[in-house]
């Protein structure tokens, strides 16, 4: 391939493969890979923390971890998985794929893009350095005031958390603005908003969510900083501050955040399922509208995290109604994915298995979530293990499965190599079985009265069996992840095949070499439909002849 040859020689001309070239890079693809790689390392760290917790909880009155250690570990597990894993993994895919998918040569602001990555990395490393300076943050990823006040959290852990969150928020804000501008300004000729690939749509909506929700978190954290460092009293109830102020500010960010985490994975799945069904996405318009609807509704449900705080009934019911409503666009998506597979020609490759796993598991996370919107039931199960089950069906069964689907799918584009398919299938089944073993019993434990965030529990409450089963499940997941790491190493040791389009794809990223040259496309493509590559392969069935 001439393009590929050009790409290779272009790389060589720059002498661009040393460590320094990665540090200095402003190429969106390299920044994307940096994001993905760093976030995956954090994923291994956060996963190890989860294993430590599961060992501690495997039996009652276990002394494996001290309460102080457990509280630091569960705090860092949540903070890591949300801010240092799922968000940057999505940012990594976004960086790598958005310019390729819209037929652009790079992001709108390549240098800002590098700034965003390095700010994220520094923020993450900074937060973890707290382990070396007298203890990590230990008040949970939600860090409710006034527990976070200096009086109750005297170590520097919370100060590291506050500064780390400020840096990570800054990184995400910069990155989001970059995505928004890129998607508005740099689309290839002919690619109207009704033709952009679904992953680009979800990145677009996610970026708006981040830009509008992060200021609330920044405010919350800055007030905490003032309380802790300058003796202000925003959350200090003894001096007239308000404890619930933190919760409102935090969840006004925190609920949109859930969609920031899940929408990119939904975008990935919406790209993968059509390709391996050999059909277009069923109901593109409905999926796009449901994404936008989730974006708006996501800002109106924050107080469903606060049903037990003593709010007036009218407020409770308002937030309950909105939380029900947000289930509707989510359902539309699930039906759209199933409609896409309906009467398709399904190829069960690793990316497809993870995408199907996403649909199957995310559905459970949607259905068990209904209970949490029902105020009187929520009073029983909020802050119990039921919620832990729910968020993991959404964020592990959902976000992480979607992300693995994306990794298997675009790995050949990024490296020129296909990951081993048998190992990929083992990886999928171990994760699928393991995650159900860990998280399904958590529903039962929540119903049986086990609160979350406890470092131990006494015998005789009927919680032993399921806790033990969960720990086994956690190790099954760990084996699955280890297989993935092995798969990665084995694959990278092989010579690349540089296949341009190994999956018989539909969208622009598969029209250039693998990996693409620094400038992506020799010639900026022009676009007539949602599946430009399909159109080229099947001119007689081209989408632009059929699309409504």
């Amino acid at each position: 391939m001439t393009i590929q040859a050009q790409g290779m020689s272009h790389r060589r001309e720059l002498g661009a493969n040393g460590l320094l070239s990665w540090i200095m890079t402003v190429d969106h693809k390299r920044i994307g890979i940096l994001y993905l790689f760093s976030a995956f390392i954090f994923f291994l760290v956060g996963g190890t923390e989860a294993l430590l917790m599961r060992i501690q909880l495997a039996q009652p009155d276990n002394k494996f971890l001290s309460p102080e250690a457990y509280n630091q570990i569960f705090t860092m597990h949540g903070t890591t998985m949300i801010f240092l894993v799922v968000m940057p993994l999505a940012a990594g895919f976004g960086n790598y794929l958005v310019p390729l998918m819209i037929g652009a040569r790079d992001m709108a602001f390549p240098k800002l893009n590098a700034l965003s990555y390095w700010t994220f990395l520094f923020g993450g490393v900074f937060m973890y350095s707290s382990f070396l300076f007298g203890g990590a943050p230990n008040d949970g990823w939600f860090s409710y005031a006034p527990l976070t006040e200096k009086l109750y959290s005297p170590t520097h852990g919370m100060d590291f958390w506050v500064m780390g969150i400020l840096m990570l928020g800054l990184a995400t804000t910069i990155g989001s603005i970059n995505f928004i501008v890129t998607i508005i300004q740099l689309r290839a000729p002919g690619m109207t908003l009704t033709k952009i690939p679904l992953f680009v749509w979800t990145t677009f909506v996610t970026s708006f969510l981040a830009v509008f929700s992060l200021p609330s978190l920044t405010t919350a954290v800055l007030l905490l900083l003032l309380d802790r460092q300058l003796g202000a009293h925003f959350y200090n109830t003894a001096e007239g501050g308000t404890a619930l102020l933190w919760q409102h500010l935090f969840w006004f960010f925190g609920h949109p955040e859930v969609y920031i985490l899940i929408l990119p994975a939904m975008g990935i799945v919406s790209m993968v399922i059509p390709v391996f069904s050999s059909k277009p996405l069923f109901g593109y318009a409905a999926v796009v509208f449901s994404t936008i609807a989730i974006g708006f509704l996501g800002f109106t449900v924050w107080a469903h995290h606060m049903f037990a705080t003593g709010m007036p009934t009218v407020s409770l019911l308002f937030f309950s109604a909105d939380s029900f409503l947000i289930g509707v666009p989510t359902g539309v998506k699930i039906f759209a994915w199933m409609g896409t597979m309906w009467k398709g020609k399904l190829r069960f490759t690793s990316p497809m298995l993870f995408a199907i796993g996403f649909v199957a598991l995310f559905l459970i996370g949607g259905l068990d979530g209904i209970h949490l919107a029902v105020v009187p039931v929520d009073w029983q199960i909020t802050d119990s293990y039921y919620v832990v089950a729910h968020i993991h069906y959404v964020l592990f069964g959902g976000a992480i499965f979607g992300i693995f689907s994306g990794i298997y799918y675009w790995f050949p584009k990024m490296t020129g190599r296909l990951l081993n398919e048998s190992l990929g299938k083992w990886h999928f089944w171990l994760l699928f079985i393991g995650m159900n073993l860990v998280f399904m019993p958590m529903h039962v434990l929540g119903i049986e009265g086990m609160p979350r965030r406890i470092y131990t529990y006494g015998p005789g409450r009927g919680w032993e069996l399921w806790n033990f089963v969960e720990t086994i499940g956690a190790f099954i997941i760990a084996v699955g992840i280890a297989l993935f790491v092995i798969n990665y190493i084995v694959t990278m040791l092989k010579a690349p095949t540089h296949e341009e389009d190994p999956w018989d794809g539909f969208t622009l990223e598969w029209t250039t070499s693998s990996p693409p040259p620094a400038y992506n496309f020799a010639e900026i493509p022009s676009v007539r439909s949602r599946r430009p590559l399909w159109d080229r392969k099947h001119p007689e069935l081209a989408d632009w002849r059929n699309e409504a």
Binding site: P67, N71, D139, Y144, P146, L147, S153, G241, L244, S277, K279, F282, G283, A286, T309, G310, L316, L317, F324, V328, F335, A336, M341, W342, K343, K345, L346, R347, V359, L363, I364, D368, I370, H371, A373, V374, V375, P376, V377, D378, W379, Q380, D383, S384, V444, I447, E448, G449, P451, R452, R453, Y457, G460, G462, W463, E464, L465, N546, E547, A548
Partner: protein, 329 residues
């Protein structure tokens, strides 16, 4: 098929429930009963959707998998307005039904507007134990809340430090205990018994060891319990007891009161006047007996790391204190 699944679920729950769990699905109050019923209805609705959707998914996966040598392209269907409207409208109807049921249950468990409280209780959250005040009866106790069967009990929730959450699954859902805010809830039960509760909002190091019980007594037992709690604390008889008493009213009194009517003391530790009328200590964590109390006074931090009682007591003093405390029935 559906029934089979239910039986399997039931078996699984039974297996784990060799011991009784504090679950709201075995309610001992009308509040928890309403909540459990609503939970079950929604669980069934969710299971129906689950079976239908996952079933359809499996059907599609099996039926539409690529067969060998099938090179024919599937029909390229982009959308179907009627179908899409259907699967948008059905969930909207479902959530309207859910919302109506939610409103009904919220009203059913809310404190009745004509609520005539038979008993007022003030619950105070401390890191990491529970204080229970009976302002009308002039008594105060810790970690074990007694209420009479059939009474309507109004509970006022306060915290002296951070946010806690008051949860006795079999009697009621959670209400947060927020510093600087006076939340109220109500309790009532027609079943005599002991019901386990636990703090449900992360409150720091020993959040896990902030447990308690609610004991629903017959009216007679409750009256007897109140009468006992209203008595002044035991007066020392022997020399050892006297020495212990001096400690308890001396050094210990910085944090613990020995006056059973000492409400609103702001002391950081629980009232000791009728310590041995309780069955547990240290946030409902350990059985209250001489042996446990001895290890506790020897090294509180080993038993409950991080708690505010960070002291070491010499063995002799310890024995004297215990010889007195044992009489605080």
């Amino acid at each position: 098929m559906f029934r089979k699944f239910g039986v399997l679920m039931g078996l699984a729950i039974l297996l784990s429930a060799c011991q009784p769990s504090p679950t709201f699905l075995e309610p001992a109050s009308s509040i928890s009963n309403h909540e459990a019923n609503l939970y079950r209805i929604i669980l069934i609705m969710a299971l129906v959707v689950f079976v239908l959707v996952e079933g359809a998914l499996i059907l599609i996966l099996v039926r539409d998998r690529k067969r060998a040598n099938n090179e024919k392209l599937p029909a390229q269907i982009h959308s179907n307005m009627r179908l899409e409207v259907t699967w948008t409208v059905i969930p909207i109807l479902l959530v309207i039904v859910l919302f109506i049921m939610t409103v009904q249950t919220v009203n059913a468990v809310a404190a009745p507007s004509h609520l005539k409280s038979d008993l007022n209780i003030r619950v105070v959250g401390h890191r990491w134990w529970w204080e229970f005040d009976y302002p009308d009866l002039g008594i105060v106790t810790a970690n074990e809340l007694h209420i009479p069967k059939g009474a309507t009990v109004q509970v006022q929730l306060e915290s002296v430090d951070v946010i806690h959450s008051f949860w006795v699954p079999q009697l009621s859902g959670k209400t947060d205990v927020v510093p600087g805010q006076h939340n109220t809830m109500w309790l009532t039960s027609d079943q005599v018994g002991e019901y386990l509760g636990q703090c449900a909002e992360f409150c720091g190091t020993e959040h896990a060891l902030m447990r308690f019980k609610v004991i629903v007594d017959s009216q007679q037992d409750f009256d007897a319990w109140v009468a006992n709690q209203q008595k002044p604390a035991y007066q020392p008889q022997t020399e050892d007891e006297q020495a212990g008493y001096m400690e308890v009213t001396g050094a210990c009194a910085a944090c613990h009161s020995l006056d059973p009517s000492d409400l609103n003391t702001k002391k950081v530790g629980p009232n000791l006047a009728h310590l041995f009328s309780r069955s547990t200590f240290a946030g409902g964590t350990f059985d209250l007996n001489e042996e446990n109390l001895r290890s506790w006074l020897a090294d509180t931090q080993a038993m409950k790391p991080g708690n505010d009682m960070d002291i070491k007591i010499l063995p002799k003093t310890r024995d004297q204190i215990i010889s007195y405390l044992l009489n605080l029935k």
